[in-house]
Amino acid sequence: MLRKGLFFILAFVATLMFSMQAMAGGVIKIGVQAPITGKFASEGQSIDKAVRLIAKQYNKKGGILGKTIKVYTCDDEGQAQKAAVCARQLVDDGVIAVIGSYTSTCAEAAESIYYKAGVLQTSDGTSDTLVKHGYWTFFRNSSPNSAEAAFTAEFFIKKKHYKRIAAISDYSTFSTDLTNAVVKDIKKLGGNIVYKGKITSGAQNFTPILTKIKSFHPDVIYFGGYYTDGGLIKAQMEQLGIKADFVGGDSNDNPEFIKLAGKAAVGAYLVNVPLPNMLPYDTAKKFLKAYQEAYNESPASIWTLFNVDGLRAILYSIEQTKSTNTKKIAYYMHNKLKNFPGITGPVEWAANGERVGSAYMAYRIGSDLKYHIVYRH
């Protein structure tokens, strides 16, 4: 009995303190949940830097609704279990919206905690399961795997008319889901999958599996993993004298892909949403320039930009609703926000938090080591 009483008193004091803090501070708290260390450290750090840059830009202009934006970062190390801890911490810090996480697994592990706390979450996670719960707090800022898979299958069958297709993924949630979806969609269009296998990300030596694939005489090898492995796969294909085309999923789209593959990069195909520097969006150019100036490097990948769009849309919605009530902001984002000019294209959301509209493209890396669009809707 005493324990319960004590609990209530403490809880009351805690709430009181929280609300006082919120009123007196005059700040809007934004959380970043990202892998700052670990395997995806470069992506996570880039997202964190980008969010802080946007916050600084807003604060320079006098903040938002007259309040300054304060960013709280939590490192989930790319592990589901740490993600749950992070989610609780950010909720405790009193953030109203969270950017992250980079990986689908971590985003999903944290999703229900943000939902229960009524904290908005926007993630680039592409796993289809992310929107299945129908949480009103969740907004995907990238396009889902399913859209990319459908586009990839079309590119394979309708445009390139591949006859013998080999597909590789790594063990990550994202990569397995994407590759499975691609294989499924290819089969749906009557394509012929001759080989499907997995690599261990970071293993560097992919010659055994590639030699095996060679014996199936494919005319294309699809890789649904990350550029760190994709670049090496392309290089080792060349070294083993494999003449098949290489098509990489979205996460192969990174400047390092070309550096890793060297001259072998020529002729590789990549499937992704439009690149910021290929688009006429002023916001994109401006943002990339600002990022370059602030950090003396470019963002790690397109995923940073997706997250930036999620953040910008939330901040815009806060301004429009003149409110920090997450319910109101979410309502606005679901129903009123249409064609918001994003860095990665127009932004709007369906009721389940899925980003509407996707504009995938297939690029070929030419002998000038630049991207050339070869197929689009």
Partner: protein, 314 residues
Amino acid sequence: MDNKKNILYGVFFLVLIILPFILNSRWESVATTFLIYSTVALSQDIVLGRAGMFDMGHAIFFGLGAYSTAILNTVYGVPILLTIPVAIILPLIAGILLSAPIVHLRGDYLLVTTIGFNIVFTQALKNNVFGFTGGPNGIFGIASPSIFGYSLSSQTAVYFMAFILLLITLFVIRNLETSKIGRALHYINEDSLASECAGINTRFYRLFSFGLSAAIAGLAGTVFAVQFSAVSPEAFNFIQSVLFFTIVLVGGPSSVEGVLLGTFFMFVLPEMFRQFAEARYLIFGIAMILIMIWRPKGIWPAKFGRIPKYFFKD
């Protein structure tokens, strides 16, 4: 001296009981995981510290328990509390079966083999064996346990589940320490040839310690699965085993206080220094080396026997 220890434990338990009411939800979550990890580390200590076998694959049994609960609950809809017997028995059997062919191995060879087991285990989880481990994703949406229709879904409820788990473990270990088995393990650890000559069935006791520690780790796995309502292969990989292994050695093998301190040092401290995200593991590595140099037997080494203090003085 015993009295002092009892008071110390009394204070420790009191703090643990009050803790969830003063911590915010993030630190409550850390405290819950601390209790679970302490349990796993204590169970690892039965094999590593007490029986003296270099087991670096303990996350397997922790994972088996967690996955048993997760699969039974999400696939077959078994209530959490009813999954507990499976989450104990399955790791127990696995512990005995896996250790049976290897307990006779010399220290480092045993260590290597258990690493091997662990890697095969996580690979099997990732490859989605039998189609119900959820592959690299793991399994999401594990329900909360309920007693008499009352759902124990709050964080504080989970905290106290973990607390009870630790109490049970401490009780088991206390009994083990004072029992024939505990003494036998201690002899085997000190000198296995001599103990065999004295008529102790070393093989039996070694298997026993593996089985017991696997069972405890499995039970801890259930609470872990409930806390995060999710399990994934990364939580039970070889690196996690290294963590439990290090906890025991940094804290002090076969010392309950040491293992608890070790868990605090290896798990809670890194959580506290999250703001130094990038540098924290570097500093941590330095700390591990320094502790081993200054206190090679751990922060709080075990004292064996009940030899009166005056025995050592003059």
